[in-house]
């Protein structure tokens, strides 16, 4: 009898326990998310001390999401010529920040501030619970732009000061 019980527990009893079909999970990652996860664009980092590089660091490890997004500004035109990111988090967070780096390239700093988390979420078809990842990506862009602008302002102030002294 013990053997029978053991067999049943292990599911090897013949005929009695029907084999359960594989449960297909109702929620799947959208193919765009999988694409960005498997082939992330612009992973890496720039030198944060470069005056033309703006760094946005958002999130917290305790929350399970940290994004670092960096943008390289062209001195003359003020446009973003290059961007890179590093993200610690779920697939949706990685995809959101990857999309963000793609979208900021070639745009001006004012223009990228108009990028909304809803657009990122729509592009990746994020489920409700993952909308927060897209918001974090939007915040990362804003933080990077803010840092870049602060650096430019600082550089301009230093240059003006130098002019005054030499003049």
């Amino acid at each position: 009898m013990l053997r029978l019980v053991a067999k049943r527990l292990l599911g090897t009893a013949s005929g009695d326990i029907p084999s359960r079909p594989l449960q297909i999970l109702p929620r799947l990652y959208h193919e765009n998310v999988i694409d960005h996860y498997n082939n992330p664009r612009n992973v890496g980092s720039f030198d944060k001390n470069d005056p033309n590089v703006g760094t946005g660091l958002v999130g917290a490890p305790a929350c399970g999401d940290v994004m670092k997004l960096q943008i390289k500004i062209d001195e003359e035109s003020g446009k973003i010529v290059d961007a890179c990111f590093k993200t610690f988090g779920c697939g949706s967070a990685i995809a959101s920040s990857s999309v963000a780096t793609e979208w900021v390239k070639g745009k001006s700093m004012d223009e990228v501030l108009t990028i909304k988390n809803t657009e990122i979420a729509k592009h990746l078809s994020l489920p409700p619970v993952k909308l927060h990842c897209s918001m974090l990506a939007e915040d990362a862009i804003k933080a990077a732009v803010k840092d870049a602008e602060a650096k430019r302002a600082k550089t301009n102030a230093t240059l003006k000061g130098a002019d005054v002294k030499s003049g």
């Binding site: 760094t55 946005g56 660091l57 958002v58 999130g59 917290a60 490890p61 305790a62 929350c63 940290v66 501030l113 988390n117 809803t118 979420a121 409700p128 619970v129 909308l131 927060h132 897209s134 918001m135 915040d139 804003k142 933080a143 803010k146 840092d147």
Partner: protein
């Protein structure tokens, strides 16, 4: 319970009014009477910085309302136990009211689920709300099909959950969004589409509003 009956009669009167414009104004006056229930006053002892939190420096601390993450007022940081108490009571309160509503009526695709401390409210084709606690930040996170993601902090002065960026109040936001969903349904009714489901759903959504902010009607 008894106080809901005259309200339902009022709702059905509203519904019978032919043109949508007066309907809208009377619904507005209905919503104005919705005062939010006072949340329980917690006994807040002097804050202590929780060591589990680690926030990034720089961008996060720059005060700016419209752009970027909101600044953190460390003076009002909740202790973890207090946060759990407040957040749990808010979420459970909402869950009970929504379940009550779900028991009474049947909206196609309606579902309230609470699992792993996450409250999920499905409104069929109208979308899904997800609400959960974010303990390291002492926040309640909400994902809405209308306003997207929001993060609510406990505001001592207002005694409510407030989203710092937009100054939105959690319960008020839910109330106004459910009203908006009502509007959407109302437009569908007047355009003669989805009539049978919408009529029931319209009454149901308004019923939810009553339940969510329903304490007033118990007076």
């Amino acid at each position: 319970m008894a106080s809901r009956l005259p309200l339902l009669r009022r709702i059905s009167k509203l519904f019978k009014a032919p043109p949508p414009a007066p309907l809208r104004s009377s619904r507005r006056s209905l919503s104005l009477r919705f005062l939010l229930p006072q949340a329980p006053t917690p006994n807040v002892s002097p804050w202590s910085f929780a060591s589990s939190r680690s926030f990034c420096s720089g961008p996060l601390n720059i005060p700016q309302d419209s752009q970027g993450p909101a600044p953190i007022d460390y003076r009002s940081v909740l202790l973890e136990d207090e946060f759990h108490g407040l957040a749990n009571s808010t979420i459970h309160d909402l869950q009970e009211k929504l379940e009550e509503y779900g028991d009474v009526v049947e909206l196609d695709g309606f579902d309230v689920d609470y699992g792993n401390e996450v409250l999920t409210l499905k409104l069929g084709a109208l979308g899904t709300y997800v609400m959960n606690k974010q303990t390291p930040n002492r926040q309640i996170w909400l994902s809405s099909p209308i306003s997207g993601p929001s993060r609510f902090d406990w505001d001592h002065n207002a005694q409510a959950w407030v989203y710092r960026r937009t100054k939105a109040n959690l319960l008020k936001l839910l109330e106004s969004e459910l009203e908006q969903l009502c509007d959407q349904l109302q437009r569908k009714i007047t355009s003669n589409r989805f009539q049978s489901i919408s009529i029931v759903a319209y009454l149901e959504i308004v019923h939810v509003i009553v339940l969510v902010t329903g304490r007033r009607y118990d007076i």
